[in-house]
């Protein structure tokens, strides 16, 4: 809330879910920019500024990554593991936002040092509230690493 431009990287393969998330985020005006990628490979390319994401002006380092688990090409858990095993990337808050409430997924996510694990609520009101809370907590209250 100090005027610094805040960026969220949304990694979500389902276009409808991505739309819902972005719509809520925009409504609550928690971030200046939401960049959406559709698979794990694109997420990694974005973070490391590879290929078409090499322009840091257009694709700045995010202050929060919302990461789905089941993703095409590179799975969400693999993205998480790669990010958290890289010292320069490790501080990036990664919130797993997924449909899966499987115990194993959650256990794996925490094992790979996810900062938070939330499942997408089915009800729209809960869904909105969750995104609002998430946005405020991680972008307003939380001190970001860069």
């Amino acid at each position: 809330m100090n005027g610094e431009p805040l960026t969220i990287l949304l990694v979500e393969d389902n276009p409808d879910h991505a739309e819902l998330i972005m719509r809520n985020m925009v409504d609550f005006q928690v971030a200046n920019t939401i960049n959406h990628v559709k698979d794990g490979q694109a997420a990694l390319d974005y973070l490391y500024g590879r290929g078409k994401y090499s322009d840091r002006q257009q694709f700045p380092m995010p202050h929060l990554m919302l990461l789905d688990l089941r993703l095409p090409k590179v799975d969400g858990l693999d993205v998480l593991r790669e990010v958290k095993s890289d010292e320069t990337m490790r501080p990036l808050p990664v919130v797993i936002l997924t449909t899966s409430d499987a115990e194993r997924d959650m256990a794996m996510a925490y094992e790979y040092h996810a900062n938070s694990y939330v499942t997408k609520p089915v009800h729209f009101v809960d869904f909105s509230k969750l995104l609002k809370d998430l946005g405020f907590y991680w972008l307003a209250w939380n001190r970001h690493p860069w």
Binding site: D16, L20, K38, A102, F124, V125
Partner: protein, 498 residues
């Protein structure tokens, strides 16, 4: 992996053949026992025979001594006229004659029990110890009836006995006569008889020791031979049993290894199936929940927009809701399809792949026409033994896939064909579409796995193809040099025939 549980169950585990081993061991023991019995019998026989021979030798010595003493006593009586010497002569010659009598009648013992006289002679002649020894001889001599030396010995004893009787008679004549001339004549006769007597007595003695030597050698030879034979047989039998045991052990252990192998395979298969099932439940719950979130999310958004009087995005949101419901419907349909593949197997039939391809292409005529695509089918494809309906699904899914991922090709080409590799018929559906990077060649066959989230289909198609091909004992894989290089989906079928 083509794995048939029935195949596993039908593998017969050949148990260790205990019965055969036990039977052999019994036989072994019986044969060894027989040999031991034979050795013991021979030893006992040999012992008895040797005791008897020893007894004969001892008797022979006593007998010779008596004979010599008798003659000496007679000569002394004749020279000195000592009545004691005469008595001594009678006693000694009686002993000698008793021995001769006993030995000369040895062979008759076979026929009947010793007669009263014989027993009387035995009892009166021999002291108690010698009497017993004599009985041993009489009782055991039977085993030697066949022996020629014994026969000669008995004959000698008989002649010696006769000579002894003659000697006794001549001695009596000499004692009874006072006429010196007559006495000298009889004495000369007596000397002749005595020589004859000594001759047979000596022959008897020689035969005694010959018999003793012969029997001793026989006993040694037979005992040694029996020992050798029994040791040899026992060794041979032990070797045979050991060989059988080792062979059976090897067979048993190889069976066991086979079983373990099969079970390990089965266990791995089970593990795979479990993992597959877990993935399946997980993906189903995940992928079915996704459209619900979409539907609920957008209906909520619609309500909010309606309340706020914002109508511009309502049509799009409604479409999303509608599409999500359709997606759910498709998912449920495909899942049902997938779940029946493993269960419902139609009877395999010989299918002409060209005819089947024509059928499938007829069904796909709509989408093909929409995109202005044609499919080239290689003529003279072989016949295949398969579930016709499922094989049609395989072709349909692969062809649909090729259509969906043809991309923006100036000259799109889709081809259905077959090639032969290492004697195996490999069918393929080839396109020059968007291609697939090598690192995704495996995961595209996973359930609900899609490389492009926004492409058509539910992500079940290739999983279904894989399942059907595996049920048919074949393999399925993709060949593609990478993005933009086109793809070739290949599969084999176990029942493929020319």
């Amino acid at each position: 992996m083509n794995f048939d549980i029935f195949q596993w169950q039908s593998i017969k585990i050949i148990a260790f053949d205990n019965d055969s081993i036990t039977r052999r061991l019994y036989l072994h023991t019986a044969i060894v026992a027989t040999f031991l019995l034979a050795v013991i019998s021979v030893t006992i026989w040999a012992g008895n025979t040797l005791t008897m021979i020893t007894a004969i030798s001892r008797f022979e010595r006593t007998h010779t001594v008596s004979r010599v003493e008798a003659m000496l006593a007679f000569f002394e009586y004749h020279d000195h006229n000592d009545p004691d010497k005469l008595k001594s002569f009678h006693a000694k010659i009686a002993i000698t004659q008793s021995y001769n009598m006993v030995f000369s009648r040895l062979l008759d013992m076979r026929k009947d029990t010793p007669d009263a006289e014989f027993v009387r002679i035995l009892e009166s002649t021999f002291s108690e110890t010698d009497h017993k020894t004599a009985l041993i001889i009489v009782n055991r001599i039977k085993v030697l009836y066949w022996n020629p030396i014994l026969k000669a010995l008995v004959a000698d004893a008989g002649v010696a006995h006769a000579a002894g009787e003659k000697l006794k008679a001549q001695a009596a004549q000499i004692i009874a006569t006072n006429n010196d001339v007559e006495q000298a004549a009889i004495f000369a006769e007596l000397n002749k008889t005595r020589k004859e007597f000594i001759l047979y007595e000596t022959s008897f003695s020689k035969n005694c020791s010959a018999l003793s030597n012969q029997i001793s050698s026989y006993v040694s030879y037979i005992t040694i031979a029996l020992l050798f034979i029994s040791v040899g047989f026992t060794g041979l039998l032990t070797y045979l049993i050991a060989r059988t045991v080792i062979k059976q052990g090897a067979r048993y252990s190889s069976d066991l290894e086979k079983e373990i192998e099969v079970r390990t395979l089965y266990g791995k298969e089970l593990q795979q199936k479990n993992a597959e099932l877990e993935r399946f439940t997980y993906t189903v719950s995940h992928d079915l929940k996704s459209p619900i979130i979409t539907i609920k999310g957008f209906t909520g958004s619609l309500e909010k927009d309606l309340a706020n009087g914002r109508y511009e995005r309502m049509t799009g949101d409604l479409k999303r809701v509608n599409d999500a419901a359709d997606k759910m419907n498709d998912l449920l349909r495909d899942l049902l399809e997938l779940s029946t593949v493993g269960r419902v197997i139609n009877a395999p039939e010989v299918v002409d792949m060209n005819l089947l391809a024509a059928d499938v292409l007829a069904q796909l005529a709509g989408p093909l026409k929409n995109r202005n695509l044609t499919v080239a089918v290689q003529p003279d494809l072989p016949e295949v033994l398969c579930d016709k309906r499922r094989m049609a699904e395989v072709l349909q899914n692969l062809l649909e896939n090729a259509v969906n991922y043809i991309g923006k090709q100036a000259e799109p080409q889709i081809q259905l064909g077959m090639r032969e590799e290492a004697g195996e018929n490999i069918f393929f559906v080839e396109d020059n579409g968007i291609g697939i990077d090598e690192k995704y060649h495996q995961i595209i066959f996973g359930l609900f796995n899609k490389l492009d989230a926004e492409s058509e289909g539910t992500g079940v198609g290739l999983a279904l193809v894989k399942r059907i091909i595996e049920v048919h004992g074949g393999r399925v894989w993709v060949e593609s040099e990478g993005e933009g290089k086109g793809s070739r989906f290949c599969f084999t079928i176990k029942g493929a025939q020319q």
